[in-house]
Symmetry: C2
Subunit: 670 residues, 2 copies
């Protein structure tokens, strides 16, 4: 993964005869509380409130090791209901229905919740984010009045029934049908074949009593695409008539969440159960929608659910913070091997150990900043949407938001997988004991790269937005739309349509090229870092456009063209998101008042930016944007920055403010 911080290559690239750098001046100490405030940002109070609650989860986290799956599920449900009582889980719902009316706050709360038990966090996401979100975003007043308050207060537990055994990423091809029967004015929900069974559905195996079911809506014999219908699935704890519920059984992690399968045998619900914000069936039994294009309608509906992806990305960053807190603190007091003067050396004083942990600390700060920007955008767009305006500008902002959410989710969840693994290994055998938290962190976060959208598929969605500059709506997520899109256009037209194209001019202004590229003086200049990231993005994105165009002009099949270009498509999308992350971090640093906190953030930002260039330096060398000397200088600078940050390493992770109680790992924290 690109999130992986390479260690061997860098050292390999040191010039053999270059004099080793003298011991560099360490980054100045800073006030940890001040750094925490900088990280907390706009919704600091909510984050503090949730952190204050987290110690209550310590007992749940510890007991999870010994409970049976059934017992663990019940405990998680009980704590979820206690949580609902605090109001923290309803922040995103309208005040008119018992909510807090603050979307940004709800994400901030959810992100912080992710420092605690992740089964609880995911079950909360299923109940309040996915199920509640579907009713809120896809339903209308009648549904809101009937269900929202019960959902917010936990009296009505529900499922988000989208994924099927046969279809995960390609949601438009779902097999479940919802057929309107004018004779009884009902909608008949049905599972036509085994592969259309709803699968991996949270709250399905034990606790859900209702499900928002995504199905192909058929009215008067005509298919209108995927819509959501509310279907009761349990009555008095028993499966509703015609509903078959099965347990997905034990999972790699998140065993406190009752994932299961749902199959429907001609289940009838009133017409009013159709969530009809974007399309309805009239009293006369006719289908009408404010959005004519079926694909566009579908993606407009999905778009309102973007919150889920924003939440998962934020949860990934929080999990990485927990892992780094344990590993860095352990490395600061664990000693191993005599340094030759009779005392064993602390792990974090070894160059390799610094290399393993500090660039990951920097990257976690970077994704934290990117996530903060994402939540701001989500908050703005949601507030505007719920304000009701629907202009083209909003559409464009909505699509940019969806793209940013998809890309940040992919990078943040890959970060979590990578960071937690490296931290576990950096704690050796102790890291393998459940009492030291890594077991749960690893197992529970592992599926983050898959759910709420497979990361590779999400990056393809990002690429599509780049190639169209968000001009066309997200009609068909189907990546072959990428290929068809370029049909009939001239290459330059395609390139000009890309959102990244505009970057090139800005880059050229900054980087005259030639020898200046190798000027040591600018190696720690954020403008230099940004220029490198922007150049790579523009080059990769226009390269994809050219390749697609070439394949089409040759008359090759879309499938063949896409398959060959796919890895490049994903690299281009990744380069785009990396640029957004760096821009967010640079802006975060600049927004800080001058002082030790800002200086530490600036050093972290340099480390993140340069480690990113270093890990992809082959590409920059191949594309004439790094000289060999400069490439080696960047590696030396990365090592210097690791050494400079080492003295404040513990403060940097303490600033994440992960409550000790949820970290467990007493012996490792020191």
């Amino acid at each position: 993964m690109a999130t992986h911080v390479e260690t061997p290559a860098p050292s390999a690239s040191r010039p053999d005869e270059g004099a080793p750098a003298p011991a560099p001046a360490g980054v100045a100490p800073f006030d940890v509380a001040e750094m925490t405030a900088a990280l907390d940002g706009r919704w600091a109070q909510v984050r503090r409130d949730v952190r204050a609650q987290l110690p209550l989860e310590a007992e749940l986290i510890a007991s999870a090791d010994d409970l049976t799956r059934a017992e663990y599920r019940e405990r998680v449900k009980d704590v979820l209901l206690e949580l609902a009582a605090t109001g923290q889980t309803g922040l995103g719902f309208p005040t008119s229905h018992g909510g807090g009316g603050d979307v940004g706050a709800s994400i901030a709360a959810f992100e912080t919740l992710a420092m605690g038990d992740l089964s609880l966090m995911v079950k909360a996401g299923v109940q309040f984010g996915l199920f509640g979100g579907a009713v809120l975003q896809l339903g209308t007043k009648a549904h809101h009045d009937a269900y929202l308050r019960d959902i917010v207060e936990g009296r009505l537990l529900g499922c988000f029934a989208m994924t099927e055994t046969g279809h995960g990423s390609n949601v438009q091809a779902l097999g479940t049908t919802a057929t309107y029967d004018p004779a009884t004015d009902e909608i008949v929900v049905h599972t036509p074949e085994a592969s259309a069974t709803k699968d991996y559905i949270g709250n399905a195996a034990a606790h859900g009593t209702m499900a928002a079911v995504f199905a192909q809506l058929v009215v008067d014999g005509e298919e209108h695409g995927v819509h959501a219908v509310l279907v009761p699935i349990r009555v008095d704890g028993e499966p509703a008539p015609g509903v078959t519920l099965t347990d997905d059984g034990p999972k790699l992690g998140l065993n406190g969440v009752d994932n299961g399968r749902i199959a429907f045998d001609q289940v009838r619900v009133p017409r009013g159960n159709l969530l009809d914000r974007f399309a309805e069936i009239t009293d006369e039994g006719r289908y009408t929608s404010t959005i004519a294009n079926p694909n566009r309608r579908f993606f407009t509906m999905l778009g309102t659910l973007v919150q889920g992806r924003v939440s998962v990305g934020g949860a990934g960053v929080s999990a990485a913070k927990a892992a780094l807190t344990i590993a860095v603190r352990y490395g600061d007091h664990r000693r191993q091997f005599d340094t030759g003067d009779g005392e064993e050396q602390v792990l974090l004083d070894y160059g390799m150990h610094q290399r393993r942990l500090l660039p990951r600390v920097a990257r976690t700060y970077a994704l934290s900043a990117a996530q903060e920007v994402l939540v701001e955008r989500l908050h703005e767009v949601s507030t505007a949407r719920n304000g009701g305006s629907g202009t083209e500008v909003d559409d464009h902002a909505q699509r940019e938001l969806e793209s940013r959410a998809a890309g940040t989710k992919a990078l943040a969840t890959w970060l979590a997988t990578d960071v937690i693994q490296e931290c576990r290994e950096a704690c050796g055998g102790a890291g393998y004991l459940a009492e030291n938290r890594f077991a749960a962190l690893k197992a529970d976060t592992d599926v983050f790269t898959t759910f709420e959208g497979d990361n590779h598929v999400l990056l393809q969605l990002v690429a599509k937005g780049l190639l169209t500059d968000y001009a066309s709506s997200f009609e068909d997520l189907d990546q072959f739309g990428l290929v068809r899109m370029v049909t009939g256009l001239a290459v330059e037209t395609v390139v000009e349509k890309t959102g990244a194209h505009a970057l090139l001019e800005r880059v050229r202004d900054l980087l005259p090229g030639g020898d200046d590229w190798s000027s040591e003086a600018r190696i720690a200049d954020p403008e230099y870092h940004l220029a490198m990231y922007r150049f790579r993005e523009e080059h990769l994105v226009s390269g994809v456009a050219r390749r697609l165009k070439r394949g089409i002009d040759r008359g090759e099949k879309a499938g063949a063209v896409f398959s060959r270009v796919q890895a490049h498509v994903i690299a281009a999308a990744r380069a785009h998101v990396e640029r957004l992350v760096l821009e967010a971090f640079v802006a975060k640093v600049r927004a800080q008042p001058a002082g030790p906190v800002r200086d530490a953030l600036a050093a972290l930002c340099d480390l993140h930016a340069l480690a990113g260039i270093e890990s992809d330096r082959a590409w920059f060398l191949e594309h004439g944007r790094l000289t060999v000397a400069r490439s080696k200088a960047i590696t030396r600078e990365v090592e210097t920055l690791c050494a400079r940050l080492r003295p404040v390493a513990v403060d940097l992770v303490d600033a994440f403010a992960v409550p000790r109680e949820v970290l467990r790992a007493e012996a490792l924290l020191g």
Copy 2:
């Protein structure tokens, strides 16, 4: 990790205007049984015998999801005893004591066992490899006669009590003491402080009745370094007097193994319990040893236990094979997204999916070949050792074996972590369900990178051997020995001492340098690949020597010098092991009779070699051994090889011959 197969960078490095490669000719179909025979090698019959037994484990693997930890531990113990009855676990012990007298066969059996339940495999490793191995290798006839048969047949279950809470990697600094008391002719085993408690010890929490305890031996007030003493730890199921046994509790994985802690309070055992092959306490109560140097004595003792590392590396390769079998077969039938002509496309027909899986298949074949060579060497050395000869030649061979075992273990276990993770993600949500095996594979193998030696520490051991060309014995594993070693030597002397130095001449013969480096004609030539790997190794190893020397000459402290050079030390060691792996794979291909199996292996070998160069191409570009054009050509060749191997992908994993019953994942296998 170096084992990580990069995906984004390669695609990023395609020349924008380069014409895409035409659909390449696929690799010819081959006979799967023939490929399996090629993989099985010398000990094929043993591997077949164990595979035939594996289906009996299917029930254990499946039931593990639902058993409590206590029940699971009991089940694993019961199956272990059944296994002992088959004789498969005693193959490495002398026939005189109920064994099979065939070390190579015992490793082959253990490797194959790793396709099944890994708790069972690890418990078998603890009992027969570690505990049994210590009695066999460190004990003498009296110990063999008294215990070996009971160990082989499972009547005496024991522990290998080396690691302590405070000391893992640095074994020489263990705190446990074994003091000889002439008054009673006993040895007093004691835990002087909490950090000296034996920790993570398999068989300690529940089933072990005896332990081989590694402790600082004190005779007549003099410390003689770490020695092993047999100490009964349980009597009739209860802790022996003075012995405190505690449970390590739940772990990330391997919960069928009863890991625990052991503390001793002045526990007395007869003098005869000292495992005295290399050192004894005479009837007169004097300490004598055939090896004068205490460090050398210690590493000679450790060296006899190299089998454990060989076994773990082999287990990592087997686990990777199991994961790839599931993911490749799933990718061959799972469809997602319409290709534009009304049918969804199979995952493995996507370029990105091929990129994610096929280089990992190739690398797994490569490490399989390297492991095969390692087992051959172990078999030869062990057989020679048990033949009793102790010449200098043997010492050199022993050290090369230890180095090869350490390096192969590191790469093979990192391969397992990387491959299993990627395969889980490639199977999406289905990969997250325990019924599909990845949960256990991921959790159980996670500690492989840590136990039997932390991978980073092991690579430092490899580097030490390289820098001394195995000339000095492995006196002090302590990496600062690396630094002290070069004191007083001239740089060139240091460089000439390196084992890698000789490589350079061979490389120069093969590679005249200059433009020839970029000749397309040789891109798929194994000699070219080997030359590149050898050049990198020599360059990095001599670079380390120069850096160490420079630091010492400046009069810097050993700790400071080592810390700065550490990442380079590890990169050099990794380059060395990568070269050994490639040489083993190339030799394996050349040993095959001409035909489809050899052709497929040759394509896999090219893919492995070129993917390795590609992932480190920045280094080769920086060191003038790749032109930009050649670098991009290598990326294209890697993609072409993936496409050529795709038609036989399923056959390639079927040839691993992992029994379906232990893979579970029926729905995914197709």
